[in-house]
């Protein structure tokens, strides 16, 4: 059997004294899209931050393997180089740093860390233009400071643009549908679907089934009280939408 892109084994994490992840087990084979659904406060977003390496969380037990390699001791920047990309629920505004400057820094930092030559400016411009066109991102938006004054839709499209340029092995999308109207949701979903590939996996975290009509998952997991309590195919999402999370809480208890 080939190595899965992501393998999480019995992961426990806490912030200060409060345990948030209580034994997460999850395997995503190459090429698959998995969705995690759960109510607010169930620990979904924590899982995404822990994958990306945010400092605030203490891992007390378990491991995370990316392509078979343990990433828990890696810095966030090293994890990105190893192939993890987190599309933020609330992308951070960075005044004074032009979006273009940031994109180039990120791409070249990853190339440098992998021992590849840095991209020339014309190649870089071409890559950004191509990826941007699919997401309705024009050059004016790229000249503005990163995420500053971007609308909700612009922020999410900028996240997907970064994903397209950085070509990660694992895309983690944290509530990518939040703050999007139907049109924006379609643009973003199209962007995400265009990135589905045999050697890439995705973890889509969401409250609502709506997003999964556009980004159709191979597997749906229900998250409750810090772990996965049920897994199934895409119909599980419809079932959840109809019945709510209450039944699954019973399973968790």
């Amino acid at each position: 059997m080939t190595t899965p892109i992501l393998e999480i084994r019995n992961l426990h994490a806490r912030i200060e004294e409060r345990e948030i992840l209580k034994g997460v087990n999850l395997t995503i084979p190459a090429g698959q899209v998995h969705a995690i659904m759960g109510r607010n406060g169930s620990g979904k977003s924590t899982l995404s931050y822990v994958l990306a390496g945010k400092e605030d969380y203490e891992i007390t037990e378990g491991e995370i393997l990316l392509n078979g390699v343990d990433i828990l001791d890696m810095e966030p920047s090293e994890r990105a180089v190893a192939g993890i990309f987190l599309a933020f629920q609330y992308p951070i505004e960075i005044p004074g740093v032009a979006t273009m400057t940031f994109l180039k820094a990120a791409m070249n930092a990853q190339r440098k860390a992998r021992g590849e030559v840095e991209m020339t400016t014309p190649d870089f411009m071409r890559a950004v233009k191509e990826a941007g066109a699919q997401l309705n991102i024009d050059s004016d938006m790229l000249k503005r400071p990163l995420n500053v004054g971007f609308s909700g839709g612009e922020k999410k499209r900028a996240e997907i643009l970064q994903m397209a340029l950085l070509k990660p092995a694992l895309c983690v999308l944290d509530e990518t549908d939040s703050g999007l109207d139907i049109d924006a949701l379609q643009v973003v979903s199209r962007g995400v679907n265009a990135l589905r590939a045999e050697n890439r996996s995705m973890l889509v975290i969401t409250h609502y089934q709506r997003l999964l009509n556009h980004i159709v998952p191979d597997v749906v997991h229900v998250f409750s009280d810090g772990r996965i309590v049920e897994s199934g195919d895409k119909d599980l999402a419809l079932q959840l939408e109809a019945k709510g999370y209450a039944d699954f809480d019973a399973t968790a208890a």
Binding site: E75, P76, S77, A105, A109
Partner: protein, 403 residues
């Protein structure tokens, strides 16, 4: 007043008194004999106690024999030089500029020790009269060469009605314990538009003092930027005076301090007539045990109604030991004004750092990006591209220059 109390004088004061007497400035010598250098008990020197910080004064400067390379090169700039207080002969001036000299300091009398010292010790002022708009950046390269020296120099600029110019002053010299006392006086005529940038790039052993006096006429627009990026001890005093309706000042400054450095920007602005405005914006970045000070005083005269002025100081601490001190003061005698002040101070934002790192940018590079972003608004409004690039170079030099 405290001046009547006898004070114990230190070596620096003894030297200053002797130097002042040697040039016949007996009243100034007497003032220091009675009051000494200002201590923290003098409000305007509260955070920059000269009596403690200035232990020795080197001999008065002699004419320089050699000059080091320019501290900052701006392609296309028209350069003038004052070396060790002596005005150097200049190349042919571009259209619109008349270059000349005048005896003595350009500053108006003021109850301030640095102003008094410049008044007594500056032998001549370089004078520039800008009759019309000047295209190239005007760079005044002020330097102190050779052995450690106490130097006072002065510059006076008249900007005619409707004229515009970008004026850059750079301060540098040899690696010695110089004490520099530099004066600049700029008068802006009706509707004149001036950008005035001063950059200290002295060596660490040097103490750098500068006083910039501005008279902003009707409808005139003044933009200033002070950058402290060199001397171990630096203080720039900004005295803008808004004297005609519609006069506006974007007064900005940047303290870049590393371990052991002390940098102070002190502004004392006067809105003298109705209908003037100003936006003072200062930033300080401190690392190691560096200390940065910004004092900003806005004085609004009794009949200066409709004054609109807001002072802001933002500090960024890159270490736990750094110190950033902020003192806004409002002195308002009119009753129909919009005036305010704000100060913020903090470390680099953790969430921003995580965001950049999550894209593969290593921590150090991510921190540098965030610091550059913090400063960008001070530099990005500079219209001349070559000058903006040179200033980015100064900032990057400090950022990448280690502790």
């Amino acid at each position: 007043m405290r001046q009547t109390m006898p004070v114990r004088l230190g070596a620096a004061e003894d030297t200053l008194i002797a130097q002042l007497k040697s040039v016949g400035a007996h009243a100034d010598a007497e003032r220091i004999t009675v009051a000494g250098l200002p201590t923290r008990r003098v409000e305007s020197y509260h955070y920059t106690d000269l009596k403690t910080l200035l232990r020795t004064i080197p001999p008065l400067a002699k004419a320089a024999n050699e000059a080091s390379a320019p501290a900052l090169r701006v392609p296309g700039a028209y350069q003038l030089m004052i070396a060790n207080g002596v005005i150097q002969s200049a190349s042919t001036a571009p259209a619109g500029i008349i270059v000349g000299k005048a005896a003595g300091s350009a500053l108006s009398t003021r109850d301030d020790v640095l102003v008094h010292l410049n008044g007594a010790l500056a032998k001549e002022s370089l004078t520039l009269t800008l009759e019309s708009s000047v295209d190239p950046v005007i760079q005044i390269d002020r330097r102190t060469e050779g052995e450690a020296a106490h130097v006072a120099d002065s510059l006076k600029i008249y900007v005619a009605d409707g004229a515009s110019a970008i004026i850059l002053e750079t301060f540098s010299g040899s690696d010695a314990a110089h004490v520099g006392n530099h004066a600049t006086y700029i008068a802006l005529g009706k509707n004149a538009v001036v950008t005035h940038i001063t950059v200290d790039l002295s060596f660490r052993a040097t103490s750098h003092f500068a006083t910039n006096e501005y008279h902003v006429g009707e409808g005139a627009k003044l933009r200033t930027l002070v950058i402290h990026a060199g001397a171990g001890l630096s203080r720039t005093q900004l005295f803008p005076r808004y004297e005609g309706a519609g006069a506006h000042g974007d007064i900005t400054g940047l303290n870049l301090v590393s371990d052991g450095q002390h940098a102070d920007i002190t502004m004392d602005a006067t809105h003298a007539v109705p209908g003037t405005s100003s936006q003072p914006l200062f930033k300080s970045i401190a690392r190691g045990r560096g200390k940065a000070v910004v004092q900003g005083k806005l004085v609004v005269a009794r009949d200066a109604q409709k004054t609109d002025a807001k002072f802001m100081h933002q500090g960024l601490m890159l270490s736990d030991e750094a110190e950033i001190l902020s003192k806004p003061e409002l002195e308002i005698y009119a009753d129909d004004v919009v005036c305010g002040h704000g100060s913020t101070c903090g470390k680099l934002d953790e969430d921003s750092l995580f965001y950049l790192m999550s894209r593969g940018i290593p921590q150090e590079e991510a921190e540098t990006m965030l610091v550059r972003g913090f400063l960008e608004e001070l530099v990005d409004s500079i219209e001349d591209a070559a000058l903006a690039e040179a200033l980015h170079g100064v900032i990057d030099g400090w950022l990448l220059g280690g502790k």
